[in-house]
Symmetry: D2
Subunit: 290 residues, 4 copies
């Protein structure tokens, strides 16, 4: 009862016997908390960081409009997908390399550093040449060749939790990156798959509490994929900050009903501005710098 | 994108075809939000309500000590189990009727209204004669005879979500009570069962966001059973308030290592006082009266 | 690797610390396998037992037609619900006491012993006066007052697994019955709740394998609720028998599209006859008497 | 009730809106069942196919001993991992390219075609030069670049279901392969992740029943990873065949306690011989050629 939490429990299917040495992602007397720097932005410091933008890069004009809007309304980083991993091969797969150039242009215009997903170890070099931060998506959390290649790029990484990844497995996935010598890793909770269908996924803020108590790496939360519906995004964003999250990854679109993907869960710029104000107030009330 | 959330999705196993008329628990133009009154306390009003106390009533002295401690540190209601539904018949089952008398004494001493669980439809009358609010526990959420009997008692009810209950099923369970004419029902989210074992259950604050957007009934959160470990309880309590919860149900014990049940997740009175202060700050930052 | 299975793992949410003495349901050198006798029928013996009938008793003529049809096509017991626990109070709740009389008449006509569900501890005496075997339904698996009352009736019990009950919790539920001195308990696997929606529930035949290796009580399987669709019932029934199940609980209706509940998963009498033949062939091939 | 199953339900998190054209993996009047040929072996024909061998290739002598043992006891194909995707980077990762040469030698000695996993799109060419069939492992089921590259190799593929993959998502993953023009795809059910911990995973034979009713591709089952314990493997293997599986993938080791991975669930050659006999008997009883 001394405030020392119990050891992390192993997953129910018995995978992942605890390695003999503690995972590098865990805080120990020898290993202090990590701050991750993406251009002028610091993740894991006193201020929360808002990353916002469209699910996918859809067009030059659309991206620039949204980038300017999120920059004007409180975002410190721009998100946007160039390659989209889609359940079905018949769904929109992203613009690929063309999107990378558009993201670079949006950065030049707004000054916001860019985070974008890489799916294929053969594309890491190309994406790392443009992106300020590489995103490893939920479906790739245990894509070990990709984790190693992304780690070796030297870029900061945003490692999303898989839909059915335990905290322990997630930290082991981070270990594949940390083993390359790259410690610039941010974990991103985005909701897990459960029996409940009222929201798209079940946001696991217990995992955020566990990580903030045990882990050295910054933790951000994606309330958009968890909620799946714009009506619930802001409440979950506030809750994430109150649970201790170091930042948020939020989908914003200037015309959500026309978005090629995830329109149902994308905020308008005005809704994003309100979210930013609400979250900074909660951050201040939770003992953080607003 | 008008801010109108999508319809509640049905559970994946196909139970519960939507009834033709909307559930009574849902807000409609005709049906306003419900406030639930338990003695001098109002749930669903501007202020958050803290209910605190031991998992189970264990002894007269212990209960009175804890009751005084939570009253002095911010609780507006006292919780404590007389009958404990335990997985195994070999675990401590509660003191039963004797505990009811002790709870009444603790109320007389502190002035705090009492919430306590009733397990058996044959015990409803006896428990309702003492308790200010009846708790229907997680394992009883679809115990339909108990729901009807508890509804007919006329007492306010605290209806915990089951470990395996969808939001839709939970609202249907509430419907069994509302059908008796008793609308004094508070919903209590306490974590669902998932594959993750880092916390005892997975707190579903998405459900809280959904209910605050759609449902007429007050919603409180039990961060203790969700966390399962005192190290994570306060972060989850803050998050629950930020998500919109109308109150919290928190396990407190003055000597957690010696508790007969749930010691690992019970706060000391000093920890509870800190939780109360943190949650009122978040409530104010979220636009509520502190 | 001696063929001794590993100890039962505890549920991920940490409930249910193993009691110091082994559960009474487990096989030990001192405790042999239990055979359960329901009139002329033996569960847990060399022959598989088929229990069949409608989801709910709907009318006298309908019940008698179906009872005669299943008796003529291989059933040794008749199932049928008098009280139906339904997610919503607006769904058909069963005919109640009138259905008990109709079940008694169907037994008189066909000679088949009856299994029917009891929901409320206050109804146990009334149901036990008619039924040959009491069913405890999935939602009641941790309704401890009901388990005790049903155990004390002295009737054989069919204890269905809950939708999200671990094997360990299920055996602890059985322990509440065994503690009353009544060992005539049959466990019924009926599918658990998971993320998958292609079937109504996920039939857990791994649990059947575990129970047949470790537990003293007979185990039967309900493929109807697991499948949720008549197209998959027979394949799951064969698989259950091959996994070692001692019998099956199958929904049969002579006019499935007009059934008041569960029509989608109810076999016609002709389909049931084919299922019975297929299952006896698999039983023989699995080393059982056909 | 015509025997036509209901449409596949979508996953609870709303991913994967059904594409307008039916998936290529589904049977339609225009598209007949696929048989997959791996050397002299046919999957999806009248006979069940047994694939057996060690979890990982550990040494030349060990592999040859096990290969000869499974060939002598009923296996038609040899399995064995060269690259092992492990939760932790500190666990044994496989012998890599050296293992490929050993597998080729084992094939030369026994005549059994080889199935082995490929993890990285950059390794597909090298693995396809040796293996008769490429395995896509559970963690790679939505590794879309890998699926495309493996499809383009022209080799038959064994596509394992992910721990967290719905049937619908699994068929969409197969679609990524089928889109390359390669239809030689076998689906492998290996258990899903649920709340239950009594077995390593929860074997979903409902999914096998659904696929045999709806899908054109052969379906095999891995009872070893589902059970996680040798005590339950044979019962699940029999059940899989009774549910309609076209074959089995079974872990066999001649000294399970000394296996570098999965020893707890590996059968000895004698246990495998008994499994083979039992499964052929069930196959015959289920209307297949033994």
């Amino acid at each position: 009862m001394s405030g020392e939490p119990a050891p992390l429990r192993l997953p129910p299917d018995g995978t992942g016997a605890a390695p003999e040495r503690p995972l590098r992602a865990l805080r120990t007397p020898e290993r202090a908390a990590v701050q991750v720097r993406v251009g002028p932005v610091t993740l894991g410091g006193p201020r929360i960081v808002l990353m916002a933008g469209p699910c996918a890069v859809e067009s030059r004009e659309g991206l620039l409009r949204i980038a300017r809007a999120v920059a004007a309304n409180g975002a410190q980083m721009l998100r946007g997908g160039a390659w989209k991993p889609r359940t079905s091969p018949h769904d929109f797969q992203g613009l690929g390399p063309d999107a990378l150039e558009l993201l670079a242009e949006a950065r030049a215009v707004t000054g916001l550093p860019i985070v974008t997903e890489v799916l294929d170890p053969r594309e890491v070099e190309r994406v790392a040449a443009v992106a300020d931060m590489l995103q490893i998506g939920s479906r790739s959390v245990q894509n070990f060749p990709l984790l190693r290649e992304a780690g070796l790029s030297g870029r900061p990484l945003l490692l999303k939790r898989g839909m059915m990844t335990t905290v322990y497995e997630w930290l082991c996935a981070a270990e594949y990156v940390l083993e390359t010598g790259n410690e610039q890793v941010v974990l991103c909770e985005r909701g897990i798959r459960t029996f409940e269908g009222a929201t798209r996924n079940t946001l696991d803020l217990g995992a955020v509490a566990v990580l903030k108590a045990r882990c050295r790496l910054p933790v951000v939360v994606d309330p958009s994929h968890a909620a799946g519906d714009v009506a619930y995004v802001t409440a979950l964003a506030r809750a994430a900050v109150a649970a201790g999250a170091d930042g948020l990854l939020v989908e914003v679109h200037d015309d959500p009903p026309r978005a090629l993907s995830d329109g149902q869960q994308s905020l308008t710029p005005a809704q994003f501005a309100a979210l930013a104000a609400a979250c900074h107030a909660v951050a201040a009330a939770s003992g953080r710098d607003a």
